[in-house]
Symmetry: C3
Subunit: 202 residues, 3 copies
């Protein structure tokens, strides 16, 4: 379980490092973006829940996983171009793990379901939002055509509904829902409707 | 009082949802911007003051107020165009309530006046700053021509000065100062001077 | 020591106020950018380490130092253009003080070395990152050609290695390393390599 956790962090670090490289950042900038992308969501969750020490301060191996992901990205930049699909698939599983993990943590500290789902979503997507803020762009996850946060919310909700009925399998079903929706959204380019507001509104 | 509080959150959510819609975000993006705009300032205040659980974790009705504000915006988008003025006026009262409420909370946890005014201002304006950051724009509140934060600071200061003399009416006078300055600034387009720095300075 | 601390804050406030002025912000906007630049890094450090009250809430003199730095910048804008070099040198010493101070604080609350170095870096550079985010730009510190964060990390590491051997002089040597690297980087325009990622990668 811990291995999956560290792998999830490394996969998110690779996605962050690639985003930083595309923006022409130097090695330090790339490392910072990788770090923010992979541990930013969990950090925000821990701050909001007043859960200290924050997970990567309690266990710095997460930082080494980020550095490993960044180093591999820098060493084999060309490789990632060939494996675009593989990375998107790995990212879907990373999101699944983060979203259900974040939901479980909020429940463990006694929060109600609506807060737990919100924390699951935050853990899954806030890192990517911070990555895009540091790149001076409107966060990808807020723009149409991804079903990214939707997948996190749906999976967290399914997990919540099932956990009193079948506590042992509920997390796995929740994760499958997250990863499944994301993979279908990638495959069939599904999206949510756009809210059209004319430009001269307040 | 609680009703005014929830109404303030809903008004700020509408302003956030409209901003998100103008940027071409999808329904999820619009909801996130609405949430960040309406509860972001109070969240930052609670984090800085180490006040846990954070207000919307302690009482999730705030989240429902955000969702209600967002749903109404999405359902009646065209309506808001006709009511631009009404929304600006509602926003002035929302700011007044947030600014004085934030100041009171900082005093309740024993902070000195300068911190209390800063927390009042933070509660009032930080949500809008986060909204603009997520839209990849320089925050409106920092740009000339709004007297937005100035109104919050002035009202919080008046409240502080009056509260030992007239504790019962001080909050109401403080709120009137905030809303009054904002309404005058909108009506007569008042603004603060701009600091002109030539572009080749360090 | 406390005087150096307040001077460091004032120097960072000047750099923030100049950045805000260049963006055409009003007096309030300039003050907010100055505040975020000078106390943002330490605030993030205190939040992540759960160290409450946050340093400027515990001791509001820091806020007065920010206001003094901002007032001086606004009053003598033209002066700063003539003293570009002086400001860069002052900034190098401010960074040195913040980075080693942040590292010491993390060690005092019992964190391991890797976290301490990260907190030293965060204290030194996060304020500038927030300044650039509020200006809707990719943070300067992430872009090539500064050795800014690198200087903070190198100095914090030297301080950590020396502090068991020579606890009395270790902070001073650490600060000299930070300031020295920055001054050499400015003088000889040193930089880290850029990670080149072709634009069509995921």
């Amino acid at each position: 379980m811990r291995l999956i956790d560290l792998l999830g962090v490394a996969v998110f670090a690779i996605s962050g490092a690639l985003a930083g490289g595309r923006k022409g950042l130097d090695l330090f900038g790339v490392t910072v973006i990788a770090m923010v992308t992979s541990i930013g969501g969990g950090t925000l969750r821990d701050l909001l829940l007043d859960r200290h020490p924050i997970f990567w301060i309690a266990d710095p191996s997460y930082l080494w996983a980020v550095l490993a992901g960044t180093a591999v990205t820098v060493a084999y930049t060309r490789l990632w171009i060939a494996t675009r699909k593989a990375l998107l698939i790995a990212d879907a599983f990373g999101l699944a793990f983060f979203a259900i993990g974040g939901t479980q943590i909020a429940l463990q500290v006694g929060k109600p379901p609506v807060i737990a789902v919100l924390m699951g979503m935050t853990t899954g997507v806030a890192g990517g939002v911070l990555r895009d803020l540091l790149s001076a762009e409107i966060p990808l996850v807020l723009r149409p055509g991804r079903l990214y946060a939707t997948a996190a919310i749906a999976g967290a909700t399914v997990f919540l509904l099932l956990r009193s009925v079948a506590p042992a399998v509920a997390p796995w079903i929740g994760m499958s829902v997250v990863a499944g929706i994301r993979l279908l959204a990638i495959r069939y380019e599904l999206s949510l409707p756009v809210l059209a507001v004319p430009p001269d509104t307040p």
